[in-house]
Symmetry: D4
Subunit: 149 residues, 8 copies
């Protein structure tokens, strides 16, 4: 029973690498959105043509990114959604809602100060963690039945 | 062909009333989350018992609110998601993602300064508006074929 | 937004009547399994012919009851599952699992001493109550936004 | 046509091993919940932090276990649900209901004295057996067309 | 909880009338295929133009009839499938399979001599009856909880 | 068994009126796209703001129209798709494909000279007609069992 | 794009072997029901215990066979349903209906004298053939684009 | 995360080859309809028997082609729909609608002069391109996060 795990959300710290390295011995396939911020913002116009209006510039890019995001979530057994300390991060919450409606198992990863505004997202999750290492331990337990310590 | 419209998101201004009044002559049933902030925060513990831990206090409430939210979105033909000028509003983005995965028609209502961080949410929408009156005009057009002016 | 609520589980106390009476002023349609124990056990053979073997006697009845149970759960927005103090009550847990896979909002009603063995059922619920009056208060809050006290 | 079989329910006897060994020559992938009782009870708090309240202790664990259980049932062609002679075993009946709503083929394995209270679960099953060896024979027949004797 | 019941199969005896009259006091909406044999055979060519080839004559009619049949089964809670004593009646068995895949509750009505060749159809049914009056009694029990005698 | 019928396609002749009038005595609810060509083209920019680029002008309008079109098809039992003698009419073929994937009963209405290029659309239909009156006769037969003549 | 093909229906001639041999050079996985008539009839009682009543004898077997049949159809891209010259063959028509509701591509194989009573089954098929070699040619065309001659 | 891409539409130029060659270094499986125009038109009658009537000649072929088309779209993550400069191309628009209702990611490829009549198809797409090389760049970005230049 290998797991397919999609790592959604914050792209400014190395939390994805921490999880992928920590789970290197487990039968997990990880997928993620494109985490190169500039490429992600500009992919639409770079490929399909410039837009003078910022809204359509962003729109074209967000649509192309959706090809990858939808596939990643649709294929996943588990969706980990990480909220960082800065920015609006509405795409992360959007992914959580999308994954929830598809019945995916959701793990939310966030700093404790975000607890209250995330309560509706937490209500859709099977686990709420603060550290990437906890996500690794959950994946290890799910696949092997081993708990830490 | 009456429409069922769910009004999700910001609860601090009268945008819902503006839409409901503007559409009073149309065959639309509107539903919303509970918009009494205190009741929404405390419903879980008020009914099911106190929790000393703030996380579980919030969790109990968010779960009870989900009974209404899920029903409201599931029954809707159109989900309007309003982002205001303040707060994290992750529940609004979560509802947008949830509605998107269910194939609902989504209208996003937000001030222009939120355009960039909302681009993934916009990519799932059929319309992006800045004023409640525009939402009314969309509903009027969808039901009657009349455009303003 | 009227609610359709299915009342599953224990049939030896008047908890259904308490909920239905308590919610008499709310826009709720309630449905239930047949709660006449003898009729429920014997409906299959009474209509479709005697069976000398107790297994098939029970089977014929359980199949006929499933016509009502499946319809009741399929139509429901909310499934309340009541566990009483006695008996195996595997049908109640079965209904909870069935409702969960269909994405229904689940409220579990059980005495506190059953907490540990019900933990997997609770994990699929949006609310866990001990008293029928709490279920009424949840339905009232979901429909009107009013909390008690 | 290899089969994916999920072995749900009782964790105190070696019925899973009997089935897995008996079917060793068949194209079957078996999955199960975590059967280490202590790990299963404590996984939530061991990974995500202690809870002073027993309800939330259990809840955290049941939610983490659900990641594995839901995946196991969702992937399965056949779900075998074993009821032993002791305990409430509501999780087994819950899994049977969940599997039934997903349209899985269900085999129930139980001692004869549980026949009457399991009649609703039996009504959702394609086979009811008393011995693990019978489950093996069913799997062998389904895959090879051979019947015993 | 009114029931929607589709009456599929044999069109040469008055079994539909017997059920509809017997259930006249119950909250049941009945639907059926067109039971005028000639109209059913010729509807395609009568409306859409003659076909010299008998296969296409039949095909045009069967396609038009499918508009009604699919709607009738899709809307139904319960599908009653009647096998008479004569003819191939493959359309009845087709409807049973179609209804089964949609998760409808199926009641089969057939004379006892057809028991063996109908065993796969029976395996998908919740009740197997020989008399229309038994179908009425099942519907009465499902809606009122009353058993005969 | 009232029918819900969506009338998709060509908007330059009075075929919709012919069908609606011809079926005035039948229990049919008809829905259609907005058939005012100018309103349909301009609804997006009229409500949501001008676009200098023709592509985005059209896009905004097509997205708003999709709110009505998707609802109309989703609610329909039968989708009638009319191809006229002029224009590309790719929206009509798109609606036919969309309706087909949702399992709707499709009736295609087209002049005989379009037969060959419509063969893939015809392959998804239950009836192919040349005159609006034939669509009326199909609806009459489906609802009443009466054939013409 | 390999194809998964389920071969349903008549078990008294070698039509399955003809198709499997004819398609030996194609990327097709074939599955079938158990075609040993005696094993198929007796599998239930041979494994799960004797039944004195013929109905339950047959029922137990039909239920066990359904494990294989449902899996075979659920996994298939194409379902070939063969009607022979004798017997009721209601299981074949049931499989066709079941496959149709799941949206499978259906090929019917029958002698010409069965054309009229099979018209409803044909209306759900993408091809109607008389010879196993024609089924092979269809599979070859679908996979390679080559037509005979 | 390999991608499955279906290439629908125009069959008279080498756009499929351009995309397949351009993406030769990427983890993409491509599928297409049969692009041999004569084989595609005649496959039905060549295998299943001549039809004197052109409508049924075309119909038999379109039905056989649907076996391949439906499988190709159902398996796809991304459906590219190409509109050329000539012909009605209603099959392309039909495929786009079919793919849209299944929630597939759609890329439309068309010459700029077709922009206006394709606006409803564009409204269902995540990208609109004019050159096959742009489709390759989208696939490269989706799989690797690299943008051109």
């Amino acid at each position: 029973m290998p797991l397919n795990v999609y790592l959604s959300g914050e792209i400014h710290t190395d939390w994805r690498e921490q999880i992928i390295e920590g789970a290197a011995d487990l039968a997990v396939e990880f997928n993620s959105p494109v985490t190169d911020h500039d490429a992600s913002d500009d992919c639409g116009v770079a490929i399909l043509g410039e837009e003078p209006n910022k809204y359509w510039h962003d729109h074209k890019g967000a649509m192309v990114n959706a090809i990858r995001t939808r596939k990643g979530i649709a294929d996943a057994d588990v969706v980990v959604v990480r909220f960082g300390e800065k920015y609006k991060q509405w795409n992360a919450a959007f992914d959580a809602g999308y994954a929830s409606a598809l019945g995916k198992s959701i793990i939310v990863l966030n700093p404790p100060e975000h607890q209250h505004p995330l309560k509706e997202v937490h209500a859709a999750a099977l686990a709420v963690a603060e550290q990437p290492a906890q996500v690794v331990e959950i994946l290890r337990y799910v696949l092997t039945g081993k708990i830490p310590g």
